[in-house]
């Protein structure tokens, strides 16, 4: 308790040279840290680039990376910590929808602006919280587009669906199932696995005897890599499909040569196709010594959008430090041409220009080859 009071008092003491803090929240430890780190570095880059501009406005812009461990309980605890620090005006995160949803309720208490680079579950914005925005697509677009791709391009007549029982994984698998049934693809099974386990043979035994054309997995890359490896070991030759949880180089690291042929939908395009994206990837590599991850550019763009809103709010406030509510109102008005494409928000906080991309891994490397780019409702 004493330590807590001390911390609060020192934080208050430091606040006088007008500080604005930008937080990234993503898993930096645990099995999904490869994706989480990519988001964090994207945010860091945007903050570093904007430091000069904010210094001219009279503010010290600081970056505070947070680790939510892909765990809703930790996410909420981090959110409480951020909301207590009045200098924090922008949160970029989270990676996992089941972490973002309860955490955003905490941010909403004080209208702390949250721009999500990667949360695709519909409920993230469907609750119409005024402070919550996302620049990526939604699972009720991603899942159905995946189903249409399976039926129309892969010519699938039947599909076996596996999910990881999380908000995101089961959610996107459900959306896939609904669309698949609606367009006449037979759903032979809908089974859950436990993330963290590595033996999925019993679920795959079911898939083997049912002989589906496609196995669809709603979940993250560690389990996906293991599933496809064990499926091939069991001589299951069906197409292996998934959603943006598979969109990480970890999939190829884990599945090795068995990753070849995997098809995944994602809300993150391959930014290295555009000139701006190439420049970003090169800058990133030079700064951090790593290749960009699927959501690095999304973290970068989300941060820039939030910073534009803060800047607008400062100007509207005659140079005085804006309230959190002002920033979240300004965020909805931002029009931004980002590396990932144009961004503008609707009244729920969804990006009007978000697209769904479909990739196929054609050789043993990440990212795969872009095979389709889709906009609008499937």
């Amino acid at each position: 308790m004493v330590i807590g009071l001390l911390l609060v008092s020192t934080a208050a003491g430091c606040a006088k040279p007008k500080v604005i803090k930008v937080a990234s929240v993503s898993p930096l430890s645990g099995s999904q840290s490869s994706m989480g780190e990519a988001i964090k570095l994207g945010v860091q880059m945007a903050v570093d680039e904007n430091k000069e501009k904010f210094k001219k406005l009279g503010y010290d812009l600081q970056f505070v990376p947070q680790d939510d461990q892909a765990d809703p309980k930790v996410g909420v605890a981090v959110a409480e910590k951020l909301i207590a620090d009045k200098d924090v005006l922008l949160v970029v995160g989270h990676l996992n929808s089941n972490v973002a949803i309860p955490s955003s309720v905490v941010y909403a208490k004080d209208n702390l602006t949250q721009v999500s680079p990667a949360n695709t579950n519909p409920a993230v914005t469907d609750r119409r919280l005024p402070n919550v925005n996302r620049i990526c697509g939604r699972d009720d677009f991603q899942g159905p587009w995946g189903a249409r791709y399976a039926a129309e391009t892969l010519k699938a007549k039947s599909v076996f669906i596996i999910h990881d029982k999380t908000t995101y994984g089961q959610g996107v698998a459900d959306e896939f199932r609904k669309k698949a049934e609606a367009i006449g693809v037979k759903v032979l099974g809908f089974e859950g696995i436990t993330p963290g386990e590595v033996d999925f043979s019993s679920v795959l035994n079911q898939a083997k005897v049912k002989k589906p054309d496609v196995i669809y997995y709603g979940g993250m890359y560690p389990e996906a890599g293991q599933l496809v490896k064990q499926a091939r070991e069991k001589k299951i030759t069906a197409y292996f499909m998934g959603a943006d949880g598979l969109d990480d180089k970890g999939l190829v690291d884990i599945a090795g040569k068995d990753a070849v042929g995997v098809v995944y939908t994602t809300a993150a395009g391959d930014v290295t196709k555009s000139d701006a994206g190439k420049a970003f990837a090169a800058k990133y590599k030079a700064k951090f010594g790593k290749d960009i991850g699927a959501y690095s550019a999304y973290g970068y763009d989300s941060t820039n959008i939030g910073l534009l809103a803060i800047e607008a709010a400062i100007k509207a406030n005659n140079g005085k430090k804006p309230a959190r509510l002002q920033v979240s109102t300004e965020t909805r008005k931002v029009r931004y041409q980002g590396i990932v494409g144009p961004v503008s928000f609707d009244d729920k906080g969804d990006n009007l220009s978000a697209k769904i991309y479909i990739f196929e891994i054609k050789e043993q490397k990440y990212p795969g080859t872009l095979v389709a780019e889709l906009a609008g409702k499937p």
Partner: protein
């Protein structure tokens, strides 16, 4: 119903494989419990360390080019011995540092210490692998790629090796505990530490030996597990450890044969549940309920027979 019967042999084989891994890990829990009446919750991390040590041995042999020139059998033995040695030594060190100073303390104190050790080891491995390989998801090199096919059932050669090695280790342990002088000393300490020490048994030495053997068994299980499923990470022991502990209780904790039976039964029940729950309930309960199903059976057994499946037939605890 026809196709669901067709997969039965494969389901049984996969369940048996998983069951033997559970059994080998369960032995570590049961041995320590038998001797100290204390549940070593960090044993799941000893298993994980064994898996990492074995995988590292194979990866280092692979990158130095030795692996290709060695017969797979020799590489397997090297990985197993290395995994067992590292896991056994860490288990002994853990006992010396975290448990022995607490030997006289109330029962819950060493339990909490064990949970702390468990977190420490998880993150220590994560830190080490992060610095050493810049990745903590490791893919274990595959030594045996062949698969034997009997009509419709696929049995990978590595599965046969896993089951055979598990059986050999368990048989060796039974013989050691029941037929050797040290084994007798171990059983004596398990029955009554004070009396055993009056009879000239060095209790501390026997406890160290118990952790060494239990740790080495956990390490062997880790190496075999890594070879079978070819993917390991620092948290891989967590769920598996809980299952193996369950198996030990299920079979009768403190009883070596019970741990084996419990492990194999749990593996089979889980595999069958995962494959058939959806079919039997017409989709109302899918594979995701396999653990619920397995634990319902566990609770039923414990209600009817609180000492576990083999808890009463053997009087000695180790």
């Amino acid at each position: 119903m026809h196709e669901s019967l067709a997969m039965l042999p494969q389901v049984l084989i996969d369940g048996l494989t998983l069951g033997f891994v559970y059994a080998l890990v369960a032995l570590g829990y049961t041995m320590v419990y038998g001797v100290l009446e204390f549940i070593n919750f960090a044993h799941s991390e000893i298993f994980m360390i064994g898996a990492f040590a074995g995988t590292e041995a194979l990866l280092i042999m692979q990158s130095s080019g030795v692996l290709a020139s060695l017969p797979p059998f020799v590489a397997l033995i090297i990985a197993l011995l290395f995994g067992m040695a590292i896991a056994g030594l860490i288990a002994v060190g853990m006992e010396r540092i975290a448990y022995r100073p607490l030997r006289g303390a109330p029962r819950l104190v060493p339990l909490i210490s064990a949970i702390g050790v468990s977190f420490f080891l998880q993150d220590a491995v994560r830190l080490f692998e992060g610095l050493w390989r810049n990745a903590f998801y490791l893919s274990t090199p595959v030594l045996y790629r062949q698969t034997l096919t009997f009509s419709r059932v696929d049995v990978p050669v590595k599965t046969i090796i896993l089951v055979a090695t598990c059986l050999a280790i368990m048989f060796g342990l039974q013989t050691f505990v029941n037929r050797t002088k040290l084994g007798r000393a171990l059983r004596a300490v398990a029955q009554d530490q004070a009396t055993a020490s009056i009879m000239g048994v060095n209790v501390n030495f026997i406890v160290t030996l118990t952790f060494l053997i239990g740790g080495a068994l956990g390490g062997a299980a880790g190496v075999l597990f890594a070879m079978q499923y070819t993917l390991i990470h620092p948290y891989v022991g967590f769920i598996l450890g809980i299952k193996a502990f369950t198996a030990a209780v299920f079979g009768g904790i403190g009883n070596i044969a019970g741990a084996m039976v419990g492990g194999v039964v749990l593996g089979l029940v889980e595999s069958l549940g995962s494959a058939y729950l959806g079919i039997l309930t017409h989709g109302a309960f899918g594979a995701e309920y396999k653990d619920v199903f397995a634990f319902i059976i566990l609770i039923l057994v414990l209600i009817l027979k609180p000492s576990g499946l083999l808890g009463e037939t053997v009087l000695e605890k180790a």
